[in-house]
């Protein structure tokens, strides 16, 4: 193999698995260390800059970082990154003075933002301090988008939404609530320098089976129903409720039902339990609230009597897989099953809908009726129109909406500066030695043996009594510290300086996870099998040195490195060093001269 190029920021970034997996590339280990130090406000501000909604995401994020977490590969479970974010939000001091000051005098550019959800608010956050005159137009009574309308209050209290949305709207912008944009053509005609579409995926998918019309009074579309609950239009449901669908919306629907009078609440899904789209922890939370999840049942008919819903008839199916691994659901031939109920909540998917975008204004749509949007710039085929969040590529989640928002804001700023939108600003990268003394590092390298801590929850009987009562109590400072100490500090990178190495094997001998091997070079596939422990995780890179004096190379398998720094402590010549890699994504404010990069020798 060729020697690894550690000067490209991608190499060390990829080692920080959580940050790499995060759509917004939040520097996770950096803020986790601050939490361990009790510097909650500092931890909060790192998050705020990167993902805009630390308190909200700390309760609701889909956490792509956690399956990626290296800790999950050396023991049972990853670090509870998401809930640690909440610890920062819960314990921070007054951060008002650390928010960007509203711009002094405008820059003369006007931008319209359609929708007041996470994507639009991120764009607003990035552009407002630069002097843009921003106008947010949203159909709901108050800003937040799906954060406010679809996520139940028992998972996310209103006060948290108000606080974090307020930080953004407080930067200076016009927010027009309760107003639906009916024509993009008309909006563009108002002379905006750019328009950002962050209108979400607002339409719940229908389930058109017999009985749908006749029993309509007791059949509700999940996201619309959740929204009605959120805004106080609905406050009860029947005693027996069936929720159709297996995503996170279905989990929110069933848990909300339990709090609004539902006593016998079931979730019924077409697919198998393991293939459900809902996050495992959301399924767990639902089952904890005595909600059974029945699988392999395809709804066939809503039964009704005298215009009143009586139940749902299901066909039993089984999964089979063809030679390409594609699944199909086939009837088992067993008799259909009927479940009685008073209400049905349909949560079988969400769709985009752009009836308000005229098809002759230069915005190209694809065959699925979705706008053609660049993943790099979030730009549409109309130079002034940008998309983000669920409106761009269909339903995803909040953290993706934030990532889109940052990119779109950068694009809008470049457009307004007259720069090439396709030319993206490089991230800011630093790589700094953590050595303090012979055996002292500026991070805590003593690895905690704790297993993942559980987040304390409110007592079930109390929690089910009030739809607005938050179930999770969050880690307190003591638990937050203990959980933070489980982080392996993957951003403390092992950096190898070949000319210093005397090949004494000290690093090989001390490494607790057998990462390091000195061996003859070879092709990657061959090399992976010849290491001290075979490197079977192909998603993880091998760090290969140039040829050493004995003709061998140093090969480090990044896969399960604990970043304990013992290789560097036992290295007599400093050939190994632990250096903190900090990568901060460039946002709109960073557009301009490239930031200074310091990379490995």
């Amino acid at each position: 193999m060729e020697p690894t190029n550690t000067e490209a920021p991608e190499y060390f970034h990829k080692v920080v698995d959580c940050q790499w997996a995060c759509p917004a590339h939040t520097p996770v280990p950096e803020y986790i260390r601050l939490i361990a130090e009790g510097r909650y406000s500092d931890a909060y501000m790192i998050n705020w800059k990167s993902n805009v909604f630390p308190g909200i995401l700390g309760r609701t994020c889909d956490r792509p970082c956690e399956p990626a977490c290296r800790r999950g590969r050396v023991e049972a479970e990853p670090v509870a990154i998401c809930r640690l974010k909440r610890v920062a939000a819960d314990n921070k001091g007054d951060i008002a003075g650390r928010l960007p000051a509203p711009a002094k005098g405008g820059n003369g550019k006007r931008v319209a933002l359609v929708g007041a959800g996470p994507a639009s608010l991120t764009v607003a956050r990035d552009l407002a301090p630069l002097g843009y005159e921003l106008t947010i137009i949203d159909a709901d009574p108050s800003p937040g988008g799906m954060i406010r309308s679809q996520i139940p209050r028992f998972r996310l209290p209103e006060s948290v939404i108000d606080e974090e949305v307020g930080y953004i709207t407080g930067l200076g912008m016009t927010v027009r609530q309760g107003e639906r944009v009916e024509s993009l053509k008309a909006l563009l005609a108002e002379g905006y320098d750019a328009v950002f579409v962050g209108s979400g995926a607002p339409r719940g998918r229908e389930l058109d089976i017999p009985g749908r019309q006749e029993a309509a009074a007791n059949i509700h579309i999940g996201i619309d129903w959740l929204s009605s609950v959120s805004f106080g239009h609905v406050d009860r449901i029947g005693k027996r409720v069936i929720v159709l669908g297996g995503g996170n919306t279905a989990m929110d629907c069933c848990r909300t039902s339990r709090r609004l009078g539902g006593e016998d609440v079931k979730v019924i899904v077409r697919s198998g339990f393991d293939e459900m789209k809902a996050s495992p922890w959301e399924k767990e939370d639902a089952m904890h609230e005595d909600i059974p999840i029945l699988n392999f049942l395809v709804p066939k008919e809503f039964t009704h009597d005298g215009g009143r819903l009586t139940g749902v008839l299901f066909e039993k199916v089984a999964a089979s897989y063809d030679e390409k691994g594609r699944r199909s659901l086939n009837p088992t031939g067993e008799p259909d099953v009927h479940y009685e109920c008073d209400d049905v909540l349909v949560a079988v998917g969400q769709e985009n809908a752009f009836p308000w975008i005229e098809r002759d204004i230069g915005i190209e749509f694809d065959r699925w009726n979705m706008p053609v949007v660049s993943e790099a710039t979030m730009g549409s085929t109309h130079p002034k129109v940008f998309f983000g969040g669920d409106a761009a590529f269909g339903p995803k989640n909040i953290i993706w909406a934030v990532a889109h928002g940052h990119e779109a804001a950068t694009s809008i700023h470049k457009l307004c500066l007259g720069e090439d939108v396709a030319d993206r600003p490089a991230p800011g990268v630093t790589l700094v030695s953590q050595k303090m003394g012979i055996h002292e590092w500026s991070y805590d390298n003593d690895i905690s043996n704790d297993l993942r801590h559980r987040v304390p929850q409110r007592d079930k009987s109390e929690a089910l009594g009030d739809v607005k009562l938050e179930v999770e109590l969050g880690f307190d400072q003591r638990l937050g510290y203990a959980e933070a100490q489980r982080c392996l500090n993957c951003d403390a990178e092992t950096v190898f300086t070949t000319p210093l190495c005397i090949e004494c094997d000290a690093c090989v001998d001390i490494c607790p996870v057998d990462c390091i091997t000195f061996t003859e070079n070879g092709e990657e596939a061959d090399l992976r099998e010849r290491l001290k422990a075979p490197a079977h995780n192909l998603t993880q890179d091998l760090y290969v040195s140039p040829t050493l004096p004995t003709g061998r190379v140093m090969v480090k398998d990044e896969d399960v490195c604990l970043h304990c720094g013992l290789c560097a402590e036992r290295c007599p010549t400093g050939a190994w060093d632990m250096r903190k890699f900090l990568l901060e994504m460039a946002h709109a404010e960073d557009v301009g001269p490239a930031p200074v990069r310091i990379a490995a020798e």
Partner: protein
Amino acid sequence: MTYITKPRLHHPLLQPNALGFTRRDYEGKVSTLCAGCGHDSISAAIIQAAYELDLPPHRLAKLSGIGCSSKTPDYFLGNSHGFNSVHGRMPSVLTGANAANRELIYLGVSGDGDSASIGLGQFAHSIRRSVNMTYIVENNGVYGLTKGQFSATSDPGSKSKRGVVNHDQSIDLVGLALQLGASFVARSFSGDKAQLVPLIKAAISHKGASFIDVISPCVQFNNHVGSTKSFDYVREHNAAMNRLDFIEPRAEITVDYAPGEVEVVKQHDGSILRLRKVAPDYDPTDKISAITHLQLHQMRGEVVTGLLYVEPDAADLHDHLHTVQTPLNQLDDAELIPGSLALDAINDSLR
């Protein structure tokens, strides 16, 4: 040393041996030696060998004297018996322990100061008596613990870190061991575990006095230009006589070699030493030729490594003394105090 203990977390693919122990289970405390010390590599090799041999940790006793090398038994086989003896007296303590309990596996760990200076006499007599043991000298040619004076194994003409030339002759422990009748003699290098681990396994399996001289560079005081015990010097002058494959008694032999390339030696416990020859004319079962060979290469400034001599069916101390099979420490009063009638019978036989 380091301030933290080695994390308990290990590679998910770490395999247990026949006893259900992983290699990590054979580790000891974290080393307090200088970073990069060759001795730590020898500790790692001992750990690897014990793991591969499926050794029950409670069946092994590690004994040492004083010095950097003699500290190392704290850093491996943390669940085995240990005895850190007086400077240079490890061989005597080991001999006594072996006399009292012949069933344990004895591992003596010593250094060039402990064995070639203060303990030279003890070393010589334990070898001469064929004590069933594995005697490892971690040989760095320098008094590291007292900051870098020449030791008894420093080669004449070699330079100290400050540039002083050594004029004294060096003691060749391998040559001594051969002359004193060790039935297994090897030399290796801390920086070459591929060679060292099989040698340790073979030595532990060998019945009789096994001696391994391991050149182990002192990174702090003897790893400079002019030293003959530095990483660079040993790598440049390493003359390996053979490469050893250690094959356990129950293992099947699957690889065939052309005749002449390989020498196969069967030990008393059924284990097989397969020597892939590097020096074609070297015969490790011929002591006279081994000694000659060693002298010849050493005169050229080469560091001869590999399995240098083995007498597969050697007898040990207990064979010579005709002691009972039951370890002496397990004999009860009835067996140890046979009474006056038995004494009379012995006295009668001498009259």
